[in-house]
């Protein structure tokens, strides 16, 4: 069976118009996601990974605005939809799990109330049916005594349990796409393992696609089929998980992989950090945003942003070094 294209983001530019000036949060971002795939977006804080995902949900709040580009999802052109239409697909065809389960549930409503809200909004189910569905969902995400939990408030549950409730809400209408924005950052490792395992299990059961946003390279190595590495509002490298980890081409990806310690290493090797500090998005450098921190920086890097170089089917990266190589080999440009 050929998998179908579910999400197609083309040349998306999104800016925040702040009093201090325009912040170009997304700078020509393109992403394709097939049905049933898991895509990881990695990057540091401020690299635009969350903004990319939120734009799919139509959550580009003031003072943010899409300046250019298109977002096509499941037959909808998201960037041209009205808020009213958007509400029909939000939580229904695409849902999101936020980073912090402590603050993303409403403290004054019961768990049951918050799960059935989605079901009642998007389906014709009666209250009774919605309640039954909520019980089923809680059981699905591994919460015991679901009937009792429905009557409880968020503060009565632990962090891991709350994140499970968030997942239950997100899955209530069996969405086509689940966006997970750092779903386990606030959780402990043993609980993180439970949640990640659960997400994969549910993906296989329901057959949805997942966009996994994280800064933890370990999580993407484990879960994702494809990875987009973002830096300063730009996808600097995109490829399959193996390509990114074993054949990284962009200097930032390489640096990132060198800088993390691994438990599985026997010998003590000194870490190789990426020197310098992340980009100030109010005053980004003229050329490649990574140039000031790049060891192999050339003159042209400071002046102009490189185009993408296609390295193989589905593996591309934006770096002048690769452009130079491609020219020297005679052709092969994207």
């Amino acid at each position: 069976m050929m998998s179908e294209l579910l999400l197609d983001i083309k040349n998306l530019r999104l800016s925040f118009f702040t009093p201090a000036g325009e912040v170009k949060a997304l700078n020509d971002v393109s992403i394709k996601l097939d049905e049933g795939d898991v895509l990881g977006i990695v990057g540091e804080s401020g690299s635009g990974k969350s903004v990319t995902a939120y734009s799919v949900m139509g959550l580009t709040a003031y003072p943010g605005r899409i300046v250019d580009g298109t977002i096509d999802f499941n037959g909808h052109r998201i960037n041209e939809m009205t808020e009213g239409d958007m509400r029909k697909i939000r939580g229904n065809e695409v849902s999101i799990i936020f980073q912090d389960p402590m603050t993303s549930l409403n403290p004054v409503y019961t768990i049951g109330n918050q799960i059935t809200e989605v079901i009642l909004l998007h389906t014709n189910k009666t209250k009774k049916e919605a309640n039954d569905r909520a019980v089923e969902l809680l059981r699905l995400v591994g919460i015991n005594e679901p009937e009792k939990r429905l009557k409880q408030y968020p503060h009565e549950l632990s962090g891991g349990m709350r994140q499970r409730v968030m997942i239950a809400i997100a899955l209530a209408c069996e969405p086509k796409l689940l966006i997970a924005d750092e779903p386990t950052t606030a959780l402990d490792v043993t609980i993180q393992a439970q949640i990640l395992e659960l997400m994969i299990e549910l993906k296989n059961k329901i057959g949805m696609s997942i966009i996994m946003i994280t800064h933890d390279l370990g999580i993407v190595a484990n879960m994702c089929k494809k990875i987009a590495v973002m830096y300063a509002g730009k996808i600097v490298e995109y490829g399959s998980t193996d390509e990114i980890f074993y054949n990284p081409k962009h200097e930032y990806t390489k640096g990132l992989l060198r800088s993390i310690p691994k438990l599985t290493e026997k010998e003590h090797k000194k870490l190789v950090p990426i020197e310098g500090t992340p980009v100030d998005m109010l005053n980004p450098p003229a050329g490649c945003p990574f140039a000031p921190r790049c060891e192999s920086c050339m003159k042209i890097c400071m002046k102009a942003m490189p185009e993408y170089t296609a390295l193989s089917e589905g593996h591309y990266s934006a770096c002048w070094l690769l452009q130079k190589e491609a020219v020297m080999q005679g052709g092969g440009r994207s």
Partner: protein, 322 residues
């Protein structure tokens, strides 16, 4: 090597209400013993609420211990006036956004300890000392007149480290010093800790929940669960030949940034959540989530004993674990 810091049967209970007849306590640290050699780094890992930060703070007597002994360089410091020891024992806090006074300049933050311990006889000497500290952590003299909000997370953590180094300490408790930082900045700070240790002969207690980082920086690692040390061993020994079921599951739960290894890895997923420290399980505290738990585990608390030279474990069922 000689022991620089030693804690014996350290307990730290916090009041948590209840009545006079039935007071409630959170047993944050419950009967923990270990030592740290001069010049070594001891890592302390565990999940949130396991008592690792409390151990670090009680060790410096930022909290008064409920019972137990703390020895520093052979002397019992459990009851003494800490002022002279504050020069020798310092701490770097977790959150570089919350641990620096926003109304003080960086120079004054670093200089405060110099003033308290009267380490500078005049203004110029104080200034020189502050600049020397800032330069040591990769900042420069012009940063001294700025305020914390003008710095990035990584730079703030450097200020926190300069503040700790200002009194020429011998021992530093590093309490999750890198968990608030971006991935690409973490390596910079980890390397700096290592370089400072070599240059100044420092001894660290390195507290973190990221076992990848702790394994990298530590000579030995202790694993805590619900206020107890459950295992302590040399770092490679712990990473590759752990014995306690909790350590094993903790290690297996860590995502490895290597697709092939992580595909092949067998994961032991623990069921359930960490129980409340207000009412911890009887006997072995891990038994409610342990697949090897027996009757004995509920009745008797396992002893923290040395099973191989330098490798300590607290578990009844070591022979049954594969």
């Amino acid at each position: 090597m000689s022991k620089l810091v030693e804690v014996k049967n350290l307990k730290q209970y916090f009041n948590a209400g209840g009545s006079i007849l039935h007071p409630l306590h959170v047993k944050a640290v419950d009967d923990v013993s270990f030592h740290i050699d001069k010049g070594e780094t001891l890592g302390l890992v565990g999940e949130s609420g396991c008592g690792k930060t409390t151990t670090g703070r009680t060790l410096l007597r930022l909290y008064e211990p409920t019972s137990g002994e703390i020895h520093y360089d052979g002397k019992d410091i459990t009851k003494v006036n800490m002022l002279p020891y504050r020069r020798k024992m310092q701490i770097v806090f977790q959150d570089p956004y919350a641990s620096l006074d926003p109304r003080m300049t960086v120079g004054d933050i670093v200089g405060e300890a110099i003033d308290i311990h009267k380490l500078a006889s005049n203004r110029n000497e104080r200034k020189d000392r502050i600049i020397a500290m800032l330069e040591r952590v990769g900042l420069n003299s012009e940063h001294a007149n700025r305020y914390p909000h003008e710095f990035s997370g990584g730079q703030r953590q450097r200020i926190g480290i300069a503040r700790a180094l200002a009194v020429d300490p011998e021992f530093i408790v590093c309490d999750e010093p890198i968990s608030a930082l971006d991935v690409s900045i973490q390596a910079q700070v980890v390397n700096m800790f290592e370089e400072l240790q070599q240059q100044l002969g420092l001894t660290y207690l390195f507290i973190a929940h990221d076992l990848n980082v702790v394994k990298h920086i530590s000579n030995r690692i202790g694993v805590m669960y619900l206020g107890k040390l459950v295992e302590l061993a040399e770092s490679n020994e712990l990473a590759f030949h752990s014995l306690h079921p909790y350590t094993k599951s903790l290690i297996s739960a860590i995502p490895i940034a290597d697709p092939v290894t992580s595909r092949e890895k067998k994961r032991i997923v623990l069921q359930g959540d960490v129980p409340s420290p207000l009412n911890p399980p009887s006997g072995c505290r891990f038994r409610t989530r342990c697949r090897y738990a027996t009757e004995l585990c509920a009745q008797k608390e396992p002893e923290f004993k040395e099973v191989m030279p330098g490798h300590y474990v607290a578990c009844h069922n070591l022979d049954k674990i594969d």
